[in-house]
């Protein structure tokens, strides 16, 4: 998998978070998620400036199979969204950790990050779900 940053954390609902070190974080869906969803055809991104609590449904990814909510992994205000996904949703399939990123947010509660799963914990979760 190209473009996969180190030190990602994950949610149980298959979102990844990358702490950008400046009080903000980048969010996307995992490779496991995009594989389960199949070809993505529409992505509804959150509004820039909107504020969400950790666990809120804040975006929608729609594949050939089904529409799926994306949940905010951390609380905060949306700073930027990946506009390119509007016309090219397939980037979230082909490069889920890189060009397929969904949005960035301002981290309002840094304590929440420790509630997220580490890479190892997430891989265990995925392996367990396969059975």
């Amino acid at each position: 998998m190209n473009n996969k940053p180190e030190n990602l954390r994950y949610t149980r609902s298959h979102e990844w978070v990358e702490d950008l070190g400046d009080g903000s974080a980048r969010v996307g869906i995992s490779d496991h998620a995009q594989e389960l969803l199949g070809d993505l055809v529409y992505i509804e991104l959150p509004e820039v400036g909107s504020v969400h609590h950790q666990g809120d449904a804040c975006a929608v990814v729609e594949s050939v199979k089904a529409a799926s909510d994306v949940y905010a992994p951390l609380s905060g205000e949306v700073l930027a969204v990946n506009e390119a996904l509007v016309d090219s949703p397939e980037m979230a399939n082909t490069d889920p950790f890189g060009d397929g990123w969904l949005f960035t947010l301002a981290i309002s509660d840094s304590g929440e990050e420790s509630e997220l799963l580490s890479e190892t914990d997430y891989e265990e979760l995925v392996a367990a779900e396969a059975h």
């Binding site: 199949g38 070809d39 055809v41 529409y42 509804e44 729609e62 050939v64 529409a67 397939e90 399939n93």
Partner: protein, 364 residues
């Protein structure tokens, strides 16, 4: 324990994501159903359809039997022609949709769906009792469909000389046997191409040769979006035993003439034929973003329900969602579909949505 076709190992070797379909382990896709869909529209793709049920009919009474069994009339066929028909129950409901090929000497071949095999065979066997006809299921045959603008040429490249010769003569919707190979110029995608019925071991060789010649394997996901773009119905999803051909957009497959032909389900069908304002199938075209899906409610502008989507999908050629829906009463040309609690505007259109690889409908 799901059944496997003779091509199962080929699918897994080619990266097929296998799923259960009607008790068979079949490839949903080989990586991307969107890419596979485009491959068929632009070039050539091949489908393993060996799970479908092939039944040969022999005997002097075969013609009379089929004229009674089916809502369409095999009298319309001359040697080699194929016919698309519904097979009805006594109430006029659809037991299955199928294709019949007329062979030499009053013989016929019928291809029915995989999911309906058991009930179809039981029904046909029972109805055949009064006729001098023999039904033989050809379980040993595999079936490969090759579809797309380049399909025929690619197939010709892997056939023997006599097979190639026979195939190139075939007109659309005709079929013929050449030795152990049966070639039908038919398909379920709206593209030109062939459906090939052949012994299992040759099928494996042919599949690999076609792949080497650049024909991509295509899964069930793309098969569904291709047939929907082409306006073709899927049994069990768009119609079933509770729906008649008239209510399923298949009135055109019923042969009302000659009037003196009796067929199963004729009475109820004739009664429906004269009626005004019953259920009918329409095509829907999504105006904005979002995917139309099976079971979504179709509503008029004021929100009252007028019907249900039977088949819906994202159309790769149109770049937006399309659907077939069964509606009742007056449906104006602009209506709504309820998608996740919101009423979204859709346009009512007449299928097909795609013809010769091109969209039939442009932006609103």
């Amino acid at each position: 324990m799901p059944k496997r076709t003779p091509l199962y190992e080929q699918h897994t070797a080619m990266g097929g994501r296998m799923v259960d379909f009607a008790g068979w382990e079949m490839p949903l896709h080989y990586g991307s159903q969107l890419a596979e869909h485009r491959q068929v529209r632009e070039d050539a793709g091949m489908f393993d359809v060996s799970h479908m049920t092939i039944v040969d009919l022999k005997g002097g009474g075969a013609q009379a039997f089929l004229r009674y069994l089916l809502a369409n009339d095999v009298d319309r066929l001359e040697d080699g022609r194929a016919l698309y028909s519904c097979m009805l129950n006594d109430a006029g409901g659809i037991i299955d949709d199928l294709i019949v090929y007329a062979g030499k000497d009053g013989e016929f071949r019928v291809v029915v769906n995989a999911a309906t095999r058991d009930k179809d065979l039981a029904w046909m066997t029972r109805q055949a009792e009064r006729f001098s006809v023999n039904l033989t299921e050809r379980e040993e045959l595999a079936m490969i469909a090759v579809q797309g603008p380049q399909a025929r040429e690619r197939v010709h490249g892997v056939l023997t000389q006599p097979e190639r010769s026979a195939a190139s003569e075939l007109k659309p919707f005709y079929g013929m046997a050449v030795g152990e190979l049966f070639i039908g110029r038919t398909g379920y995608t709206g593209e030109d191409g062939y459906e090939l019925m052949l012994p299992a071991d040759r099928a494996v060789v042919l599949w690999r040769s076609l792949n080497e010649a650049g024909v991509a394997p295509i899964g069930l996901g793309a098969r569904d979006t291709l047939r929907l773009e082409a306006g073709m119905a899927l049994y069990g999803t768009d119609m079933d035993e509770t729906t008649s051909p008239i209510e399923s957009g298949l009135g055109w497959t019923v042969a009302w003439e000659p009037e003196d032909r009796d067929f199963i389900g004729k009475g109820p069908l004739l009664a429906q034929r004269g009626r005004v304002g019953g259920k009918q199938m329409v095509g829907l075209l999504m105006e904005g973003r979002g995917v139309l899906r099976h079971d979504q409610a179709v509503c008029s502008v004021d929100g009252s329900v007028v019907g249900t989507i039977t088949s819906g999908a994202f159309s790769p050629v149109l770049g937006r969602a399309i659907a077939m829906a069964r509606v009742e009463g007056d449906v104006s040309s602009a209506c709504r579909v309820r998608i996740r609690d919101q009423l979204q505007p859709v346009r009512v259109v007449k299928p097909p949505f795609v013809r010769f690889g091109k969209p039939c409908y442009k932006e609103a």
